[in-house]
Amino acid sequence: MRSSIGLIALAAVTIATAAGGQAFDEAKYPDWSGQWRRPADVGNQWDSSKPARRGQQAPLTPEYQAIYDANLKDQAEGGQGTDPTYTCIPDGMPRAMNVIFPMEIVIQPNITHIMIEYLSMLRRIYTDGRDWPENAEPSFMGYSVGRWIDEDGDGRYDALVVETRNLKGPRAFDASGIPLHADNETVVKERIYLDRADPNVLHDEVTTIDHALTRPWTVTKNYHRERSPIWLEAICAEGNQHVRIGAESYMLSADGHLMPAKKGQAPPDLRYFNQSRK
């Protein structure tokens, strides 16, 4: 009888090795498949639990509060303020996790990809235990190192803890232009996990450490799952009516002409056209 049990155990080990030896054991990872969307009743502000703009009560330093106030004034006049994305550059981190357009999370043993349906906003979160790279090229999405955690000890990971560094700018927290520091030394820490009661809700607790802030700023983003998704392309350049010329932003009219974005805005300097017509 003892030999029977031993034989069965041996068979089990052999089969497990054959089936899963080099295979990615999805049973160890949470099911985050499908399409994740921000809730329909949530806007695009950074802290979803608070109103947009000044209502965010961002813990800005006095210097950056002044920059933010100047930005709000510029936006009220029709400008873009400190929101750089009107020219179709990526949101970057942490703003990308606003998930204005849907995202997909693809989990592999050494890397988790987060793909956002906008521009080419792709995050690679390395979970292979690597250190921070030396002299890596900064990027809008930054360099992310993550670690899977089995918080409830059931043998299956349930949280992904991520740290992101090596970012470049310009970046803002949201479209109201809440600024991040120009030194780009931002560090973003995240804890991503499924809701305990509803597996179709994902949470991302995001803490931003930045020299524009007086303290780490933590917000929690929530996403809802669509299990039968349709993926589209959100192409910023397609139909973008904003035009930047030098330091000025203008608009394109419906009939294809340049028009001012602000009252009394001067037209662009056409000096090179004058020269070419001489």
Binding site: I8, A12, G264
Partner: protein, 277 residues
């Protein structure tokens, strides 16, 4: 009797373990190793074996040859011709597979993803689905693939893909080699590792399009970098091209609008005149 029950027990254990270990898992041993970063070999032209532009000898219909010639003339004068990439539009299929910047393959059970540094990912559905009814067209199109074990060794070695439902404007390459504006392009691909060098990947691409007199097949070749550094290549960052109406202008180094063509007229500033009244 004991032996029969033992055999049944082993079979049951095996079944249960296969379900537990393999049912939801992607069995990587069945798929080829396409990990790492894939870099193009050769230039940015569509057929890598031929020169860019007219040298491609694209099998264009007479109507689209005229459109191509007009594009070449416009580009020679400083314009962008048919190539909409200057305004940071996605390059779409099949041009995406020129892989101007590096790409990565990610396999899941139902989808093979191709990730790019400067474009949104391609999703190639390998779950046996049919074509969707009336999907929203995209630049990258809708791709259905099938893994094939061509040499019968129990491991897939070939991914066959068909892509439909694209939207435009799209061209084959920067010279403005056009695809038909009806956007009924069908792209068929056969992607596999080189038989003698696993660090080389081939994509045999056949484009069926009403701008062409016949299906046009080219083979793209990529080489692997196993320790990649990934960058971002965002077209809009420091893009000096500006489209105003149907005209393409340029932003000078000192931040002023300038013509891209000799004697190009400046933009119409009628709305500034109205706002200053």
């Amino acid at each position: 009797m004991l032996r029969r029950s033992l055999v049944r027990s082993i079979a049951l254990a095996a079944t249960l373990l296969m379900i537990a270990a393999g049912a939801q898992a992607l069995d990587e041993t069945r798929y080829p190793d396409w990990s790492g970063q894939w870099l193009r070999t050769g230039g940015i032209q569509w057929d890598p074996t031929r020169p860019l532009g007219r040298g491609q000898q694209a099998p264009l219909t007479p109507e689209y040859q005229v459109i191509f010639e007009a594009s070449l003339a416009d580009q020679a004068a400083g314009g962008a011709g048919n190539d909409a990439r200057y305004a940071c539009f996605p390059i779409g299929m099949p041009r995406l597979m020129s892989a101007i910047f590096p790409m990565e393959f990610v396999f899941s059970q139902k989808v093979t993803y191709i990730l790019f540094e400067n474009n949104m990912p391609r999703r190639i559905y390998t779950d046996g689905r049919s074509w969707p009814h009336d999907p929203e067209p995209t630049f990258a199109g809708y791709s259905i693939g099938k893994w094939i074990d061509a040499d019968g060794d129990g491991r897939y070695d070939l991914l066959e893909v068909e892509t439909r439902y694209m939207k435009g404007p799209r061209t084959f390459e920067g010279s403005g080699l056009p695809l038909h504006k009806d956007d009924q392009t069908v792209v068929q691909e056969r992607i596999r590792l080189d038989r003698s060098d696993p660090e080389i990947l081939h994509d045999e691409i056949t484009t069926v399009d009403h701008a062409l007199t016949r299906p046009w097949t080219v083979t793209k070749t990529f080489r692997r970098e196993r320790n990649p550094s990934w960058l971002e290549n965002d077209c809009s960052e420091d893009n000096h091209h500006v489209a105003i109406g149907k005209e393409n202008y340029f932003i000078s180094a000192d931040g002023h609008l300038m013509p891209t063509k000799r004697d190009q007229t400046p933009p119409d500033l009628r709305y500034f005149r109205q706002s200053r009244k």
